[in-house]
């Protein structure tokens, strides 16, 4: 698997010179499988830039195939969808897997984003590509683009978000963004879900001192991510979903602190940065 970061920010895009190095786009990650399959996780504003790149491939000719895994439907995870050029090319086939009681409920929520009050698209039905929406069954492995995916429901403030475990030929990538553990302690089931991951991408929205006053918002501080990585014995920890107010220097600090916390373990800390690619 090759993992690439298109958007690494939480809550709202943060343009400006102070976010140039890590990037200001909201959450979006792509995974290219060993057999050339494409899996996208989350549809923040980073999705627009992934889409622009994809137009030079089969997606530009209406022969593209992709799966999208959606952690939850907060704006910073869906706001790129209307700006994803492959959905406007007939012939492309995209299947989205996300949270919700049923396919229908999830589709209704995504439709809301295209409501004529807010979007000139007016409805998802104006997509020209085939765009299928499927509700994920938590805990039941399913196949997308040749990968085996298992989803887990995480607490996320007043709501919940899906984490995904992707496996291909014994390699494991876990995406766990937007998670706020009860009392800030990663629980045993979450640890079991991460166990053995070659790469754990984990929510590191806050510094601990900011987390102290924002616990109810449903995010992790970097020390919680490190605790999870250590307990699960993962290979690499990827920091992700940085607070919109953090500058590049702040994120440098988060990464350095993670490295200090995990010093003496075999866990490597890799910061998610727009444009970077990670081979697993």
């Amino acid at each position: 698997m090759k993992v690439r970061f298109w958007g690494v920010r939480g809550s709202i895009p943060a343009p400006g010179p102070e976010t140039n190095r890590y990037g200001g786009n909201t959450s979006c990650v792509s995974i290219t499988t060993a057999t050339g399959g494409l899996v996208i996780i989350d549809m923040g504003t980073g999705l627009m830039h992934l889409g622009a790149t994809l137009m030079a491939s089969a997606f530009g000719k209406g022969a593209g195939r992709a799966a999208i895994l959606l952690s939850h439907t907060h704006w910073d995870h869906i706001q790129g969808l209307g700006f994803f050029p492959p959905v406007f090319v007939p012939g492309n086939e995209i299947t989205l897997w996300g949270p919700g009681g049923s396919d229908h409920v999830l589709e209704g929520i995504l439709e809301g984003q295209m409501d004529p009050n807010f979007s000139p698209l007016q409805t998802l039905k104006n997509f020209s590509a085939s765009f299928e929406i499927r509700a994920v069954q938590v805990g039941v492995p399913f196949e997308v683009q040749g990968l085996t995916v298992t989803a887990r429901l995480h607490p996320h403030g007043g709501t919940s978000a899906l984490a995904f475990r992707l496996e291909e030929a014994g390699r494991v990538f876990v995406y766990a963004s937007d998670v706020g553990y009860a009392d800030g302690v990663p629980d045993a089931e979450s640890i079991a879900f991460y166990r053995g991951a070659d790469v754990l991408l984990h929510d590191t929205t806050y510094k601990p001192e900011d987390q102290a006053t924002r616990r109810n918002r449903g995010f992790s501080a970097y020390d919680e991510a490190c605790a999870a990585a250590r307990a699960a014995g993962v290979g690499r920890l990827v920091t992700f979903h940085y607070d919109q107010d953090y500058t590049d220097d702040d994120v440098d600090g988060i990464v350095a602190s993670c490295r200090a916390l995990l010093a003496g373990t075999a866990i490597e800390v890799v910061p998610a940065r727009e444009g970077d690619e990670l081979a697993i």
Binding site: P13, P15, G24, T73, Q79, G80, F83, G112, F118, T159
Partner: protein
């Protein structure tokens, strides 16, 4: 009156090195009549930084008052509102003006805060919020400022606003297609139109254009949607945006004193925006225009009349 630009981008925010100079935030302009509370036009992501600064004024201790004029509720014009800090302080008073529609405006704005999309419901914002429906062409007062409006040519209909105060005027004209090729309203238009427009539609367009020209009459500053290059417009006339030449034409007809290019396309780099500005200045001069042409960037501050 001072006008400050907090977000100048259309469609979607675009962080990154290519947009450092003009800025990547979506539409938001602050209008400050002398000694008066802010009149904010549009609530794209640019409003987030404005909100933080306002906390240092009376908004920080819940005594602030602001008005927000919404051109239309497309995402790039409202998506910053949930991140506007003054709304989280009890005591602040925020008046939101937007085009009247079948549904109550509060219901429209609260959709953005619905649980599947955002963690904080509109009803949990502690500031006092009041929603005011604006009919196309309506005029009203905000403090000492006089606000007038006109209809624009845009999907789902947008409204242009003029603010008169301190013996000067600013006109905000975004988003709009030119008033020549098609009428955009509530129907979804999938592709560019073909064939000749019926006379009735041409008359309607002429009337809409006349309304905009009248609104911008002798404006000290005319802020105008110039998202498209001529080539882009040819492909997407049904998207509801104008070209620099359209802005020049309206500014000349209205006798505006300064023209400000605005609502830059998301993928437009700083260098490309520089080139468009240079080209527009040359075109305005060639057309015999006597106004100054500028291009909006985050942090731009323009003073008109007394300040």
């Amino acid at each position: 009156m001072v006008i400050r630009f907090w977000g100048v981008r259309g469609s979607i925010p675009v962080p990154g090195r290519a947009t450092n100079r003009y800025g990547g935030n979506t539409s938001c302009v602050e209008v400050r009549p002398k000694g008066e509370p802010p009149i904010i036009i549009d609530a794209g992501t640019g409003i987030r930084k404005l909100g933080k600064l306002l906390l240092e004024e009376s908004f920080g201790d819940g005594r602030g008052k602001a008005s927000i004029l919404i051109s239309h509720t497309h995402w790039d014009h409202v998506q910053g509102l949930p991140f506007f800090s003054p709304l989280y302080r009890a005591g602040n008073e925020v008046h939101v003006f937007a085009r009247e529609r079948d549904v109550h405006l509060e219901a429209v704005f609260s959709q953005q805060h619905d649980a599947p999309y955002f963690p904080v419901p509109l009803s949990a914002m502690h500031a006092t919020m009041q929603f005011h429906g604006v009919s196309e062409g309506a005029s009203f007062d905000i403090g000492r400022a006089k606000v007038t409006s006109a209809r624009l040519n845009h999907p789902s209909v947008a409204i242009a606003y003029r603010v008169d105060a301190d013996g000067a005027s600013v006109v905000y004209c975004s988003d709009t297609a030119p008033f020549s090729d098609m009428i955009l309203a509530h129907e979804f238009v999938e592709r560019p139109p073909s064939g000749i427009l019926p006379l009735a539609l041409l008359e309607e367009l002429a009337e809409m254009r006349a309304g905009v020209v009248a609104l911008a009459k002798n404006a000290d500053l005319l802020i105008y949607d110039t998202q498209f290059t001529p080539e882009e417009y040819k492909k997407q006339p049904h998207w509801g945006h104008s070209r620099p030449d359209d802005a020049i034409e309206i500014a000349m007809a209205a006798g505006a004193k300064r023209l400000c290019l605005y609502h830059h396309a998301p993928m437009r780099s700083d260098d490309a925006n520089d080139a468009i500005l240079a080209g527009t200045r040359a075109a305005a001069q060639a057309a015999g225009a006597r106004f100054e042409v500028m291009s909006a960037y985050e942090g731009l501050e323009v003073t008109v009349g007394d300040a």
